[in-house]
C-alpha cells in the first residue's frame, strides 16, 4: 500500500475562526475517501489547503513523497492534483471544449492544443457532455456545469482528484449518472477524496470516511464504523436509526 497523500496536523485559522484543527490522515493510492460533516465544518477549507489555495498555519502535506506544504496551486496541478469546486467556476465566455482543454493543457501532462482538444473530446464523452462541446460554458445548466467541473479536472489525468459536492443540486437520475462516473474514475486508478452531504451515496461509494465537525476530525473509519460511531451520530447523523437505515440500503 503506497500512500499518495499524507496530511499531518493541518491547522487553519481565519481571523479568530478555527477552520481546521490538527487534521491528520494518510490516503493510500486508489482509495475513495469520503469527507463528511455539517455545514461550515471545514471540508472545503481542507480542500483549499491541500490544493494550495490557502496555506496552513501548522502542519504538513506530503503528496507523492514530496513535502508540498506552501506549494502554489498551479504547481500542485502539474504534480497531478485536480479538483472540482462546490460553487461551480466555469470559464463562461469559453466553449465547453476550451474549458476542458485548459485542464489538459496546463495540468499534469502539459499537452499542446491539438492533443488537448482530443483529450477534451474523450473526457466530454465520458461525462456525457459531448453534445455541448461547442456551446459557451456560461450557457450550461447547473447539472451540466458540475459535469464540466469534473471533465476539466479529469482532463488533467490527475493522480489525486478532489471532488467537492459534485452531487449537490442534482436530481435522482443525474445523481445516479454522476455516481457511475465516479466509480469509473476509480477504476482508472485515480485516488479520490469526495466531500458529500448525500449520506447514502458516500456510504456506498467510499472505502473510508473522515468526519469533520467545527474543524476537528471526530471520526475516521469504514462506512460501517462511521455509521455506528456515537460522536458522529450525535454531531451529524442525528439519530442512530437513520444510520442503520443508511447501511441497510447499501
Amino acid at each position: 500500500m503506497t500512500v499518495l497523500l499524507s496530511v499531518q496536523g493541518l491547522t487553519k485559522q481565519f481571523g479568530g475562526l478555527q477552520a481546521l484543527t490538527q487534521v491528520t490522515f494518510d490516503l493510500p493510492q486508489g482509495q475513495i475517501l469520503g469527507l463528511i460533516g455539517p455545514n461550515g465544518a471545514g471540508k472545503t477549507t481542507l480542500f483549499n489547503v491541500i490544493n494550495g489555495v490557502y496555506h496552513p498555519e501548522v502542519g504538513r502535506i506530503i503528496f507523492r513523497d514530496k513535502d508540498v506544504t506552501g506549494t502554489k496551486s498551479y504547481d500542485l496541478a502539474h504534480m497531478g492534483m485536480a479538483r472540482t469546486h462546490q460553487i461551480v467556476r466555469p470559464l463562461n465566455e469559453l466553449t465547453v471544449r476550451e474549458n476542458v482543454m485548459v485542464g489538459a493543457c496546463f495540468g499534469r501532462e502539459n499537452h499542446n492544443l491539438s492533443k488537448a482538444a482530443g483529450i477534451a473530446d474523450e473526457v466530454l464523452e465520458f461525462v456525457g457532455l459531448d453534445s455541448r462541446a461547442d456551446q459557451l460554458a456560461g450557457s450550461l445548466n447547473v447539472a451540466q456545469k458540475k459535469r464540466l467541473e469534473m471533465a476539466r479536472a479529469l482532463a488533467a489525468h490527475p493522480y489525486l482528484l478532489l471532488l467537492d459536492e459534485v452531487l449537490a443540486g442534482l436530481n435522482p437520475s443525474e445523481i445516479d449518472g454522476m455516481i457511475q462516473i465516479v466509480r469509473k474514475i476509480r477504476e482508472q486508478g485515480i485516488t479520490i477524496i469526495m466531500i458529500e452531504h448525500l449520506m447514502k451515496a458516500v456510504m456506498n461509494i467510499s472505502d473510508r470516511i473522515i468526519v469533520l465537525d467545527y474543524g476537528e476530525q471526530i471520526a475516521d473509519g469504514t462506512p460501517r464504523e462511521i455509521a455506528n460511531n456515537p460522536r458522529v451520530i450525535e454531531a451529524y447523523l442525528g439519530n442512530s436509526s437513520l444510520a442503520d437505515q443508511l447501511l441497510e440500503e447499501e
Partner: protein, 322 residues
C-alpha cells in the same frame, strides 16, 4: 475548423489593407497623415487587446509604452546616430523590458488597483523624462533635421514611416491572432474568465500575465519611435497623454475586446468619429467628453463591442470574425 479560423485572420488583414492602401494608391500626403493615425491606433489598440481583451486586465496607462519607446528611439537616433529601424526596435524592447520589470509586481493587483497602478507608472515615467537631462528634461528633444537626409529627404522619410506603421499594424493583427489561437492565449483567457480557477487548473498565472504585459508593450514602443521621428520632436506632455490611453480603451471596447477584428473596427470607427467631432463646431471642444460618454454606453449596453454584437446577431459571422 482550422480553415475557418484562418478566414478570420484574412478578414482582419484585409480590413487593415483596405484602410491603409488608400494613400499608397493615390500618393496623397494629406490622406497619408490621417491614415497614419488610424494605423498607429490599430497597433496600440491591438496591443492593448492582448492585456485587456485576452487577459482581462484594464490598463489605463498603456500610453507609457508608446511614450517611452518614442523617447528611447529618438535619443538613439539623435544622440547616438542609430538608424531609425534599430532605434525603433530598441524603443520597443525598452518598453517590453519596463513591462517585464513591472509585471510581476503590479499584475498581482486586481481590478481597479491594477488600473490605478498603470496610471501611476505613466505619471512616474513622465516625471522621470521631465528631469532626465539626456532626454532634454521639460523641453524634450528635437530631431536634427539633417537626419532625414539619410532617408531620402523629409518627404520620402514620411512615406517610409508610413509603410512601416502599415506593416506593423498588419503584424499586430497577426500577433493577436497567434496569441488568441495558442496555448498561451488559452491560459490568458482562462485568467480573464476566472483567475483562481485558472491557477487551480495549472496556469502559471504570474508568468502568463507578465508575458501578456510584455507582448502588449513592445509594438507600442516601436510605433512610439516612428511617430516621434515623423514628428521631429518629443516632450513629456506629448509622449504620455492619459487621454490617448483612455481613447485606446474606448477603441478596444468599441470594436470588441478579445477579438482580432475588434481593435481594427474600433480604430476605424473611433477615428472616423473623432474626425467628425473635430471638424464639427458643436463638438470640437468636447471630443473627450464624447469619448467618455461612448465608453459608458458600450460598457452598459454592448460590453462585447461591435464584433461581439455582430457575432451574437449573425451566427454565420461567428466563424469568420476572429
Amino acid at each position: 475548423m482550422k480553415q475557418l479560423k484562418s478566414i478570420g485572420l484574412w478578414v482582419s488583414l484585409l480590413a487593415v489593407v483596405a484602410l491603409g492602401i488608400g494613400p499608397i494608391a493615390n500618393r496623397s500626403a494629406s490622406l497619408r497623415e490621417t491614415t497614419y493615425i488610424i494605423m498607429q491606433v490599430i497597433v496600440l489598440a491591438a496591443s492593448l487587446n492582448i492585456l485587456l481583451g485576452f487577459t482581462g486586465y484594464v490598463s489605463f496607462g498603456h500610453i507609457v509604452f508608446f511614450g517611452l519607446g518614442g523617447y528611447v528611439g529618438l535619443y538613439l537616433i539623435n544622440a547616438q546616430n542609430w538608424p531609425l529601424w534599430s532605434a525603433a526596435l530598441a524603443g520597443g524592447l525598452t518598453s517590453g523590458l519596463l513591462a517585464f520589470l513591472l509585471g510581476k509586481a503590479i499584475l498581482r493587483l486586481r481590478g481597479a488597483y491594477f488600473a490605478l497602478a498603470t496610471i501611476g507608472i505613466n505619471e512616474a515615467v513622465r516625471a522621470f523624462t521631465n528631469n532626465f537631462d539626456p532626454f532634454g528634461g521639460p523641453i524634450g528633444m528635437t530631431l536634427n533635421f539633417r537626419v532625414y537626409n539619410s532617408y531620402g529627404g523629409a518627404a520620402n522619410a514620411l512615406w517610409l514611416v508610413y509603410y512601416a506603421v502599415f506593416a506593423i499594424a498588419l503584424l499586430a493583427v497577426v500577433l493577436n491572432f497567434m496569441v488568441k489561437n495558442s496555448k498561451f492565449g488559452l491560459g490568458l483567457m482562462a485568467i480573464r474568465e476566472d483567475e483562481g480557477a485558472a491557477e487551480v487548473m495549472g496556469v502559471i498565472t504570474p508568468n502568463a500575465k507578465t508575458w501578456a504585459f510584455v507582448l502588449s508593450a513592445i509594438l507600442p514602443g516601436i510605433v512610439g519611435t516612428l511617430f516621434f521621428f515623423k514628428n521631429g520632436h518629443i516632450e513629456p506632455g506629448d509622449a504620455f497623454r492619459l487621454d490617448y490611453s483612455i481613447e485606446m480603451l474606448v477603441i478596444v471596447m468599441l470594436g470588441g475586446q478579445g477579438s482580432v477584428l475588434g481593435p481594427i473596427l474600433g480604430a476605424a470607427g473611433y477615428e472616423g468619429l473623432r474626425n467628425f467631432l473635430l471638424t464639427s463646431p458643436l463638438f470640437k471642444n468636447i471630443q473627450l467628453s464624447v469619448a467618455g460618454a461612448l465608453l459608458l454606453v458600450i460598457v452598459l449596453f454592448i460590453p462585447a463591442g461591435a464584433v461581439g454584437w455582430l457575432r451574437r446577431r449573425v451566427p454565420i459571422l461567428r466563424k469568420v470574425l476572429a
